[in-house]
């Protein structure tokens, strides 16, 4: 395995498009994981009256700084701003001093407001910072897609392996079950459930996972049908290995290539699904940063180009990078070329 994966990696590396796509995507994704440090309305470090504060990590009440409210301090509020500018006080704000739900109340122009020094990419129709929402939305989309893909892969491998390994009646019944299951109208179920329950990310993941594994199990099944007749599997059976040992040690590792090849495409597919559902208003709960919701706002406010254009570029960029990576993996795993 070491040898084979090394060959694949060498092949992947030999194309500059592959390697740049991988590096850029990983860089952006790792950056977005630290979104709270990059884009937030709380200072990273603050010094007031010769005392150091870490508002990003610790919650301070406004009363702590001599304010009136018992709630957490709003560092963009005039009261806090005045305090910071006094005497020797100072505060280090993140690069983009807005979080995804920070509403710019001091805007002179009506919302959605065009890009300005306060909001680098403007605000949406509720006065929230677009750049912050893009960063948090990107992170949410990718993590959502990863979780969805992992769940789909696990379920898909499970069912595909059982079908392909045990064949016969087991295969027949499961295949019929899959046929019935996949003919259920997914979109209507989503609409019905989003009106029955309070929309949430976990509900969305559960609903989409119920259907996401179906295509994948077919590939795993085909690989297992091929694998179960390989000589080394027969040899393992004559040595008395149990079915579980044969599946996990012999067939599964050799079937993973087709699964891995599909991963980047499935991830990009999942991002697209989340975006479309959000666009239709069936996705994540309101106030969650989401690319789909931004796109839908862009449609409502067609003159506010900073909404639709920026989201469009983030989305296209992400999907393009993932597809390039997927293409690269597919080519490097193809032993024929």
């Amino acid at each position: 395995m070491i040898g084979r994966s090394k060959v694949i990696w060498e092949k992947f590396k030999s194309s500059r498009r592959n390697i740049y796509s991988l590096y850029i995507f990983s860089f952006i994704f790792i950056l977005s994981i630290f979104a709270e440090i990059i884009s937030n309305d709380k200072p990273i470090l603050m010094k007031i009256d010769d005392k150091l504060y870490f508002p990003l990590i610790v919650d301070y009440k406004e009363t702590h700084f001599g304010g009136i409210f018992e709630t957490e301090a709003d560092y963009k509020d005039d009261f806090m701003q005045d305090l910071i500018e006094k005497n020797n006080n100072w505060a280090v704000f993140p690069l983009n001093p807005n979080s995804y739900n920070t509403i710019n109340l001091n805007n002179s122009t009506p919302n959605p407001a065009p890009p300005s020094l306060h909001n680098y990419l403007g605000t949406d129709d509720r006065g929230r910072d677009v750049l912050a929402r893009l960063i948090y939305g990107f992170r949410l989309s990718v993590i959502f897609a990863l979780v969805l893909t992992i769940i789909a892969v696990v379920i898909g491998i499970f069912f595909g392996a059982i079908q392909g390994y045990f064949v016969g009646r087991t295969d027949l019944f499961l295949q019929r079950f899959i046929e019935i299951w996949s003919s259920m109208p997914e979109l209507y179920l989503l609409i019905i459930f989003s009106s029955l329950f309070e929309p949430s990310l976990s509900l969305l993941i559960i609903l989409l996972s119920l259907f996401g594994w179906i295509g994948l199990s077919d590939y795993v099944r085909a690989e297992f049908l091929k694998g179960r007749n390989m000589d080394y599997v027969i040899a393992a059976r004559t040595m008395g290995l149990s079915n579980y040992q044969i599946i996990t040690r012999h067939i599964l590792p050799n079937s993973m290539i087709s699964v891995i090849t599909f991963l980047p495409f499935r991830i990009s597919g999942a991002i697209l699904i989340l975006t479309s559902l959000d666009f239709l208003g069936l996705g994540v709960p309101p106030n969650t940063p989401s690319l789909g919701e931004l796109l839908s706002q862009g449609k409502e406010n067609i003159e506010a180009w900073w909404l639709s254009l920026t989201t469009f570029f983030v989305l296209v960029g992400t999907l393009l990078l993932l597809i390039f990576i997927g293409e690269g993996i597919r080519e490097s795993m193809d032993s024929r070329s």
Binding site: M1, I2, G3, R4, V7, E10, K11, S14, M230, D231, Y232, I234, A235, A236, R237, T238, M239, G240, L241, Q245, R249, H250, P253, N254, S337
Partner: protein, 531 residues
Amino acid sequence: MSNKLLEIENLTIDFTDTLHRKNIINNISLQLTKGEILGLVGESGSGKSITGLAINSLLDKKKFITKKGKIFFEGQNVLEKSEEDLLKIRGNKISMIFQEPMLSLNPVQSLRTQICEVIKLHLTNDESKFQDIIESIFSKCGLECNNKILNSYPHMLSGGQRQRAMIAISVVCKPKLLIADEPTTALDVTLQLQVLGLLKKLSKENGMSLILISHDLDLIKNYSDNVAIMKDGKIEETNSTSEIFNNPQSSYTKRLMNCRPERMIDGSRCNQELLRINNLNCRFLTKNSLFKTKRKYFHALTDINLSLNIGETLGVVGESGSGKSTLAMSILQLLNYQGQIIFDGLSLEKMSKEDLRNQRKDFQIVFQDPYSSLSPRLSILEILSEGLSVYGDYTQAQLLTLCEELLNEVGLESSMLYRYPHQFSGGQRQRIAIARAISLKPKLVIMDEPTSALDVVVQKNILDLIISIQKKYNLSYIFISHDIKVVSAISHKICVLKKSEIVEQGETISILENPQSDYTQQLIRSTLFDS
């Protein structure tokens, strides 16, 4: 112009892909006169087929780089010709036939369409003449020229018919040169003789030169005028056939000659019975139906009776599809069958699943293809220790020593334990497969064509290994092969299978010297070429 049809001068070809560049043809020179049959012999990977393709300029120019050399065909350098000129030569003057006719015939076109295509391209556009041309070439090739054959698609023909049809298509334009790349390797022994006879006849009648590419020395000996022996992209030796076989010069040729299997065992063995098979039947459902009477079956094994003693080798010979492998799978209890298999005094089919799993360590298998018989993702240590850890509680250190011993036993170094199968050659992999089979100290090992995928030199070494292991552990073998030469070299008893039935069985020597059934006689004659 001399009567030289083809002259290859100092041809050197490199193969490149994204990662490697490798020399595959190294400075070879060959000559071929009109009507001559040249045998090109070598191991797989020695560059035989590449030479054949280079003559026809069929190599992908991006991957195969001709560094130097010339190929003169009828006095003109093929390598300098444009693609347009080459089209006039290919198929018309130089033709090729390949090993597997199923792959070289187009599966979605009828035979008529495929042969007419060639005629239209190179001979005539007059469709009224087609029938005559086809009839004459088919009768030459021993094919009936009726609509049933002409309108059939490749999969509807038998293996022999397919290869004949392939030859008919290649020679319909009366080419000056026919390159036959392992033309009979995929065919059953009885068909091999016919096809080779046909090629020789065509060569005589049309004055056609023939390059016969093969790994089979006996075949070359009987059919070619001159022989060129290739190794690692170089020509080791060229000479007339009789000279090469009677007076080989290069050391490699001598080694090749010595590798032809000869009887390697003595008659001594034990009289205690290990395996007995009574009335074994095996059938596969081909057409299912709710009613039992309407179900259709393919009978893979019919009324097989066999017995095998301890320390004895039973050779099972038969063509592909005769049920040899089905027999192996039945003994291994991997198939459903009717009948009785008694192993070591116990009736296997009556055993519970648990007992059977414990019994399994006593019978093991070695397969034909050393590339698919080792899981590519496991290291040699993992492969060898797998069976051991099922039946015993060993510590990691104990497993390591045991596996090292096993590797030494099959002639490999213990430092190879951490490598992966793809780092080994075919012969080494087969050694590992044998090591795995004997890891559980079985009483019976079934060898399913263990040497068929290997070159003659390696084959000899593996056979030596098999024999020495048998002597050491008093093992019993069931040795399955289509090659009666190999089987007779190492088996005490032989059983000949044909179309799911045993045609003949008995002591090896008596069968070889005095075969009773027609089929066995035919089989022995065609393999040993002493017609």
